[in-house]
Symmetry: C2
Subunit: 147 residues, 2 copies
Amino acid sequence: MSEQKLQQAIERLKSSNVRITPQRHAVLEFLFNSEAHPTADEIYKALEGKFPNMSVATVYNNLRVLRENGLVRELTYGDSSSRFDSNMSDHYHVICEECGKITDFHYPPLDEVESLAEQVTGFDVSHHRLEVYGQCKDCKEKKAVNH
Amino acid sequence: MSEQKLQQAIERLKSSNVRITPQRHAVLEFLFNSEAHPTADEIYKALEGKFPNMSVATVYNNLRVLRENGLVRELTYGDSSSRFDSNMSDHYHVICEECGKITDFHYPPLDEVESLAEQVTGFDVSHHRLEVYGQCKDCKEKKAVNH
DNA sequence: TAAACTAATTGTAAAGATTATAATATAATA
DNA sequence: TATTATATTATAATCTTTACAATTAGTTTA
């Protein structure tokens, strides 16, 4: 997709003295082209073909570097492994409890909640996270068919 | 605290044919008296004195049973282990990024977000989760002293 | 109250995700 | 192209949670 965004990200890394290796480039590119919020293992498997010798540790290392440089976000839900999202714009997620699919959706940032939390608890608030859970269209339809 | 709530919980378990063993009673009681949202391991360590032979598997089993019966909630944040909350009323959490402390706070349920998510994504929404992150009072003060 | 039945506990092993480590390879730079 | 620091690889270790089989113990019923 947006080749420009990818180039910007690479410049950002370079200016932080992060080396652009083929593996790192591939992880970054894969995430930028994915809307599926993949896990580390899914990224690893997706790049196996191109990099047969790549270690899974490399994927984890690079995800950490990308996260530390503000290029991807780590999403931790109830399930066992983290998911990664290169969409750093303000948005929330709706998660299907049936099949695990994660869908983006936009809503005005909940600034009121943050400021009330500050007042009530005395915290300095930095950010919040919100996820909505339910059943996606596909899973609804599948159930309907089986009846 | 509320001895009555504990008795109600026990009745609820009995009516679901869940046996009340000393270990199970202790896990339940500990959670009902705790406001600290403990991990499974913290519960295990807290009960070690009373039950020197208790297995950590017993703690996990009981937490699962309590969760399945709607008596505790499992909280999964970015850190490695789940936390458990016996406060089943509608409330949100503010989490200190410094020390990990979790503080309850109340806010009207975000029904609007849920209904917008339904419209936009076509999901059947069942619930949502929201956490606010920041720095707690104590950690702020500690930092101020060190300057 | 005792026997019988079923569920719970225990101890240990296994699974799965992630991190640590040390040796080797390689990107960036002068 | 030589140098140097960083990244990668392969593997082991760690940590949380679950699985399993044997034993123990609630609960029910005769």
